[in-house]
């Protein structure tokens, strides 16, 4: 009798042990994945910023990392109050592909370059680079810097939420305009929702 009970217990424990190990394994993989996404976003920005400085110093088309297939087109500066004590600087990449978005905000190639007359569209992830957009308010100043080191300032004129299933962004504008787009709501857990947070800024 005692033996029987003993054996049953052994089986039960080993099942729980197995379940515990599997759960811990899955947990570690998921946490690592999440950390990697966040880490990649920070690391890539740092590497791109270094390449940008080299480019400004005259190096021709420096690559942030050897296999990089995108180039930064401008540096974007968000005001200090959005993210902490210092103004947040972000390297904006060319072409809005999912992979580029992992490394930084990206410029929609269908739109004009920032600072030129027309609407320049820049999109970024709501939970990494463009998290600070939720703090932007009408009247805030946003700046971009091109390779020529000159800063161009914009003032936020509109902040709104739109449904991406039924809206599109007009590329025409009478003035140089910057449209910053990210997903909404900012703290939704599951990605892929239809809503977008759209910040519009006109050149000063």
């Amino acid at each position: 009798m005692g033996l029987k009970v003993q054996r049953r217990r052994v089986c039960r424990w080993s099942f729980i042990e197995l379940a515990a190990v599997v759960a811990l394994g899955i947990g570690l993989v998921c946490v690592a994945q999440a950390t990697w996404i966040r880490g990649k976003a920070v690391l890539a920005q740092w590497l791109i910023a270094r390449a940008w400085e080299q480019a400004q110093a005259g190096v021709r088309a420096p690559k942030p990392w050897p296999w990089a297939d995108t180039t930064p087109i401008v540096k974007l500066e968000l005001p200090a109050h959005t993210s902490g004590l210092e103004a947040q600087q972000l390297m904006v990449l060319d072409g809005a592909s999912g992979r580029n978005l992992a490394f930084g905000p990206t410029h929609d190639p269908a739109s004009v370059r920032p600072g030129v007359r027309g609407n320049s569209v820049i999109e970024g992830h709501r939970d990494t680079h463009f998290r600070a957009l939720q703090q932007l308010r009408v009247g805030d100043r946003v700046r971009v810097q091109g390779l020529d080191m000159r800063w161009v300032s914009f003032a936020v004129v509109d902040v709104r939420v739109v449904d991406s299933r039924r809206s599109r962004i007009l590329l025409d504008a009478d003035v140089p305009r910057l449209t910053l787009v990210t997903c909404y709501p900012f703290d939704a857990i599951v990605p892929g929702g239809p809503l977008r947070w759209v910040v519009t800024a006109d050149r000063l």
Partner: protein, 684 residues
């Protein structure tokens, strides 16, 4: 046990808390501000009525049964009467309408157009849900849905049948999804205006929905497509030309589904498949008994002569006509220029040629067709390179210019063959007028049409080729220009099959839906729908002449089970032919109208004189609530004028937080399980 519950509850509570914490209210409060975002031409885009489309197609042998489900979504707080204009293939027999209200299904009936309209209007007035499907043009239909409740939706399912022929060495299932707005030469727009096409569209929209009902915007309409492919033979390849799809195989059946859930309906869907073994299936006769009568579908593709290039002793005179109107703006004009340049490059020193361009006016490269020389080629290339898309779509002056040039004098005893190659998206509303002109002035010439763009007016391009005794091809993307022009060159350069004759076993006299084609070009199928007094047995003999020699083929007759819908396909084809005869005009027009109506009612298909109507007997809208009419927009072709100046949105969130939460929950669970084990050990 307590631990388990604790762990699960902890996981759930923490994720819900995280999800809730971030959700900020006020999406609707933030709509004021400047007009930067273009959702539609409406003042209040968020509340606009929209239609989402879901398509299920089943291909069995050479026949496709397609169900188009349109869900009318009304996000506003009003009761709405919805109107939606949508394209369907021109040769389709539309015979089914089902209105889904909640769990209930209400089947529609075919009625004479006026009667159907009256029934619908009456139901609408009394607050009942009702829907009406009309044929506006042979390939453009409308659905009206009355009494859609606030913040709710009604689904309408429309069913049609069509044949899938083997053409240019492939089977193609073509599902039109977008509409190129039709230019109306009578709209009173200054034809010299640069935006004539766009102005016409604006006028059409303002004029209401009775004449030219299409209303396109850059708004996103979505579509979902699912195709069951059971051709009855092994397939070599299945390919979707303009959409990314996933294909799953089950024996010789294939299941094709659009990848992704939010696919914009801004281009037509084309599914192409080729059989693994070629010879046997190029010819087939199916016979089906329905009631007292028998219907037969004969499909075959005469073998292509294995000969490349033009015959050396033949002299051709090729007149290219290219549409440079506003609707060709964007990728379309690039495709058209590339196709035209290939056509000119293909000419040989024996040929003569000319190029005519038209929009609001027409002009030609040379005054008369010129021999192909280095100089004329250079001039042509320069002319083609300078073509830009803007202005109206006045086709008649261009055709008149082409027909007005006297044919070149025949050399020796070889007659000159005059071929007109017409490159356009077919975006006009005076289709019948243009067809009549071609029929009248064609003479010994032959007209071939090249359909351009993501959503061409396929009906019109095919009718042009029929009236012009030529053939047609379609180019939807820049990458297709080369291959599709090769298909066309084969048709232009190889002798056509003429003097077709059909002999049925036992001397049966069939009633053909249309006359036998007078010219069958390389790669073109022969599709014959016939009504027979009795079920034939044995073989059918089809014969013709090509290049002086006799061609003959015996076709065995297969009897099918009576579910294939051949009767409806025959009726639809017959109605198409009667409409064609009617458009010629004359005293018979009234009689033909009667015949069309009678056929459509007898065979229960939608036509220009019959519509489908469904009514829900239960009243829905309270008598004191107002009903507001609204037209849901239809997608314009991708890259066209109506889709430019706007950009979409990228996916701008990472799954990092999701991973983190799943990870933390799993870690928590793992730790608890581990401690649970130790507790049990401790008890022992």
């Amino acid at each position: 046990m307590r631990h388990w519950i604790f762990v699960l509850t902890w996981g759930l509570v923490s994720s819900v808390a995280l999800a809730q914490g971030g959700a900020q209210p006020a999406i609707l409060e933030e709509q004021s501000g400047t007009l930067l975002l273009k959702s539609s031409q409406d003042a209040d885009p968020i509340d606009a009525l929209r239609v989402e489309t879901s398509i299920r197609a089943q291909v069995t042998g050479n026949v496709a049964r397609v169900h188009v489900t349109q869900t009318f979504m009304n996000p506003s707080s009003d009761w709405v009467e919805g109107l939606y204009v949508f394209p369907l293939p021109a040769g389709s027999a539309v015979d089914e309408l089902v209105m889904h209200v909640g769990d209930r299904e209400l089947r529609g009936e075919i009625k004479e157009k006026q009667a159907a309209k009256a029934l619908y209007e009456q139901a609408k007035a009394t607050g009942q849900r009702a829907s009406l499907t009309d044929q506006e043009r042979p390939n453009m239909f409308t659905t009206q849905v009355a009494n859609i409740a606030p913040q709710s939706s009604i689904s309408i399912e429309i069913g049609y049948l069509e044949t899938v022929p083997y053409r240019d060495s492939r089977y193609t299932l073509h599902i039109p999804l977008a509409i190129t707005p039709r230019y109306n030469p009578q709209a009173g727009v200054d034809p010299a205006s640069r935006n004539a096409a766009q102005l016409t569209h604006a006028i059409n929209m303002a004029a209401g929905t009775t004449l030219t009902p299409e209303r396109v915007t850059s708004t996103l309409q979505h579509v979902d497509i699912d195709v069951e492919l059971a051709p009855g033979f092994a397939l070599d390849a299945v390919q979707s030309l303009h959409h990314s799809v996933t294909v799953t195989r089950d024996g010789i059946r294939q299941h094709v589904k659009l990848s992704g859930s939010q696919v914009p309906a801004d281009r037509d869907f084309e599914l192409v498949w080729t059989p693994a073994q070629l010879p046997a299936l190029q010819a087939a006769v199916f016979a089906e008994r329905v009631g007292e009568e028998t219907y037969a579908l004969t499909m075959l593709s005469p073998p292509v002569v294995a000969q490349e290039g033009a015959k050396t002793d033949e002299r051709r005179e090729v007149i290219f006509i290219i549409d440079t109107s506003g609707s060709m703006f964007g990728p379309s004009i690039q495709q058209a220029r590339a196709a035209l340049q290939l056509g000119v490059d293909r000419l040989t020193a024996n040929d003569r040629f000319n190029v005519i361009r038209f929009s609001s006016d027409a002009s030609s490269l040379f005054e008369a067709p010129q021999p192909v020389t280095d100089t004329s080629r250079v001039l042509a290339s320069r002319f083609i390179g300078s073509l830009q898309a803007s202005g109206g779509t006045e086709m008649k002056p261009a055709l008149e210019l082409a027909f007005a040039t006297p044919p070149a004098a025949p050399l020796a005893d070889n007659a000159v063959l005059r071929q007109i190659v017409f490159i356009t998206d077919g975006g006009v509303s005076n289709e019948a007028e243009v067809i009549a002109l071609i029929r009248e002035r064609l003479g010994a010439a032959r007209l071939f049409s090249v359909g351009i763009g993501a959503a061409p007016n396929a009906y019109f391009l095919q009718e042009m080729a029929t009236a012009g005794r030529g053939s047609y091809t379609f180019i939807a993307q820049r990458e297709q220009v080369g291959q599709r022009m090769q298909d066309l060159f084969r048709k232009l350069e190889q002798p056509a099959l003429v003097d077709l004759a059909l002999e049925w076993p036992g001397g049966i006299q069939p009633e053909l839906a249309t006359n036998l084609p007078r010219d069958v070009y390389a790669g073109d199928p022969i599709v014959i729908l016939a009504r027979l007094p009795s079920l034939p047995s044995g073989t059918l003999t089809l014969s013709g002449r090509r290049d002086g020699s006799v061609w003959q083929q015996q076709l065995p007759i297969n009897v099918v089970d009576g579910q294939a819908g051949l009767a409806k396909l025959w009726a639809r084809e017959r109605i198409g032919e009667l409409s064609r005869l009617k458009s010629v005009g004359g005293d018979t027009a009234a009689a033909l109208q009667g015949q069309i109506l009678q056929l459509a009612l007898q065979y229960q298909v939608v036509s220009e004189y019959t519509s489908l109507v469904a009514v829900d007997p239960t009243p829905a809208r309270p008598v004191d609530a107002a009903l507001r009419p609204e037209q849901a927009p239809t997608s314009a072709p991708v890259g066209s004028y109506w889709q430019t100046g706007v950009t979409g949105f990228a996916q701008t969130a990472t799954p990092a937080q999701l991973w983190m939460i799943v990870g933390l929950v799993a870690l928590g669970l793992g730790c608890t399980l581990y401690s649970y084990r130790r507790v049990r050990v401790g008890w022992d």
